[in-house]
């Protein structure tokens, strides 16, 4: 089983997002692995462990810091790491999907995994776009994958525990919502060790694609309401919440 995991390095939403012109100021944000890619890497490694094969992780190096993420994926069980030297922090999903699809074309993938979405997928997610470029079927919102005899059985979530089970003749692209088991944690020591020994293959970006979206404005949302903020120490906050709940007959 030849498994490729396409990942996205995205601006971290843990901190404030500075704006420059009509977009995020990519020079002054931290980039992190998309949270759903962590699930996607785990699911790919679980499939490999079940049926054998190779997991190759590939991503676009947006700001020259992808190595850390690729080392992490290798420490979690991926076998090979490839970075597309995009060096364009503003490359949108359409462009990244095109570069990724071109890079994946030569890999004879049986399955391509991608995170179901990323928080900066303003023009849509890379998974379904890679599927369109590679002419493979796509299912997203997937929370378990099993493979036998070149057929994958995947569970797709709708909502509230309702879902659908699908069987797919490979190759296919899977948009992972959650791995069938919580992602493993790679100890820092292992990540460091991998970082010293691993080789990361570099690929030049190939193929142009555009979202066709002109950005007119980017700003924190204009809010119609805001919570009444309870000030003071944690003790004060606790006291005021308890008083509030008591006054409403909720405590």
């Amino acid at each position: 089983m030849n498994i490729v995991v396409a990942i996205k390095h995205i601006p971290s939403i843990a901190d404030d997002l500075p704006v420059k012109g009509n977009n995020v100021d990519f020079d002054s944000v931290d980039f992190v692995l998309n949270e759903f890619d962590e699930q996607s890497i785990e699911q790919a490694v679980l499939v490999k462990e079940a049926v054998g094969g190779t997991v190759t992780v590939v991503g676009v190096d947006m700001i020259g810091e992808l190595d850390a993420v690729l080392h992490l994926a290798l420490a979690k069980g991926a076998d090979k790491a490839v970075k597309i030297t995009g060096d364009d922090p503003a490359a949108d999903s359409h462009q990244q999907a095109k570069w990724l699809a071109e890079a994946i074309k030569g890999m004879s993938a049986d399955m391509v995994f991608a995170g179901v979405q990323a928080s900066n997928d303003l023009d849509g997610q890379i998974g379904p776009m890679i599927a369109a470029h590679l002419d493979m079927p796509y299912i997203g919102g997937v929370s378990s994958v099993e493979v036998s005899d070149h057929t994958a059985t995947v569970n797709k979530e709708f909502a509230g525990g309702i879902g659908g089970k699908y069987s797919v003749s490979l190759p296919m692209v899977v948009g992972v919502q959650a791995a069938s088991k919580p992602p493993r944690y790679a100890p820092i020591s292992k990540v460091r060790q991998v970082a010293q020994t691993a080789t990361i293959e570099k690929v030049s970006p190939s193929g142009d694609a555009t979202s066709g979206l002109a950005f007119k404005k980017m700003a924190p949302p204009v809010v119609t309401g805001h919570a009444e903020m309870i000030e003071g120490s944690s003790k004060d906050v606790a006291k005021k919440i308890v008083e509030l709940l008591k006054s409403k007959g909720l405590a």
Partner: protein
């Protein structure tokens, strides 16, 4: 090329989802501004499709479409869009729409905007990205565009009506599909039903570890509440799936929704924004949840929870 707007509606178990009506209502408004028609598109059988206020409704009924199948649905919608050349195609940014919108965009080379909260008469789309921390206004180039709309963005009523649908056969052959629907997955039972609880203490990734869930259980116990959570808590295996609130979880409307360490991503809001009293504790003063909660505090959830326990 026309100025029509195609709305790809969604249904399950014989019922259309709210987002379908929301989009049809918005499409009517846009179509009248553009001089086109709002066309509701129903894919699949087992549903009565004369329920929209659309200018027309097209119902593609084929046994191969009776269950959602992204490959089959994608082929049908691609063929229909090519034939009709609408100005705009609207999908829900939902479990099903998310499989189709970006795929169609790449397939046809047509711009797509996701996380769409609003659409102007000039088709400028306001999108809520970066986990709700940013709002982007984008404007699609070219003659056709795709909008993947967040549920809850437009009023439901404007899309409800009784336009008689026209049934058509699938515009493409649906044999030789690589994806086959096997069976429906039903929710696991046996746990408390969080949709029936008056009070919920809801925990997010800020809770940090499985061991800390106990603190929330203790607080909930003192308040006569039940513990629910955001998705990452469930994905990490700290609580069962039955406790998840949100887009892919359950929709709740309790009297009290006390949130500890939940950021307020759009997918979480879909499940709880109509709770009667929302109180959020979060260390990040810019957490989007503070735009939705009734009361909030920029504070450490552990300190606040411990202090509340002492007072209760």
């Amino acid at each position: 090329m026309s100025n029509d707007i195609l709305v790809i509606t969604e249904h399950m178990d014989g019922k259309f989802s709210d987002v379908s009506f929301e989009m049809v209502g918005k499409a009517k408004e846009l179509a009248s501004a553009l001089g086109g028609r709002a066309v509701a598109v129903v894919v699949g059988g087992g549903v009565s499709s004369n329920v929209f206020a659309s200018d027309s409704t097209i119902h593609i009924d084929d046994a191969a479409l009776s269950q959602f199948n992204p490959e089959a649905y994608g082929k049908v919608i691609e063929a229909l869009v090519k034939e009709k050349s609408p100005r705009l195609v609207m999908f829900g940014w939902t479990a099903t729409g998310m499989d189709l919108a970006a795929w169609l965009s790449a397939k046809l080379g047509v711009p797509c905007a996701a996380y769409v909260k609003n659409i102007g008469a000039d088709l400028t789309m306001s999108c809520q990205a970066y986990g709700g921390k940013m709002s982007a206004d984008v404007s699609p180039e070219g003659d056709m565009a795709i909008a993947a709309c967040l549920a809850g963005s437009f009023p439901v009523e404007a899309g409800q009506g009784s336009t008689a649908a026209t049934s058509i056969a699938s515009p493409v052959a649906l044999d030789g599909l690589k994806i086959k629907f096997v069976e429906a997955i039903k929710p696991a039972g046996g746990d408390v039903d969080i949709t029936a609880q008056a009070k919920l203490v809801s925990i997010g990734r800020g809770i940090g570890s499985k061991d800390n869930v106990e603190l929330a259980e203790e607080l909930a116990g003192k308040l006569g509440a039940t513990v629910s959570s955001s998705r990452p808590v469930v994905d990490a295996g700290w609580l069962p799936r039955t406790r998840q609130v949100g887009k892919s979880g359950l929709k709740v409307k309790p009297k009290l929704y006390l949130m500890l360490g939940i950021s307020g991503a759009p997918e979480h809001l879909e499940g709880m924004k109509s709770a009667e009293l929302i109180i959020a504790i979060n260390t990040d003063k810019k957490a989007p949840i503070f735009n939705v909660a009734h009361y909030g505090a920029t504070a450490d959830l552990f300190e606040v929870a411990e202090a509340m326990l002492e007072l209760l």
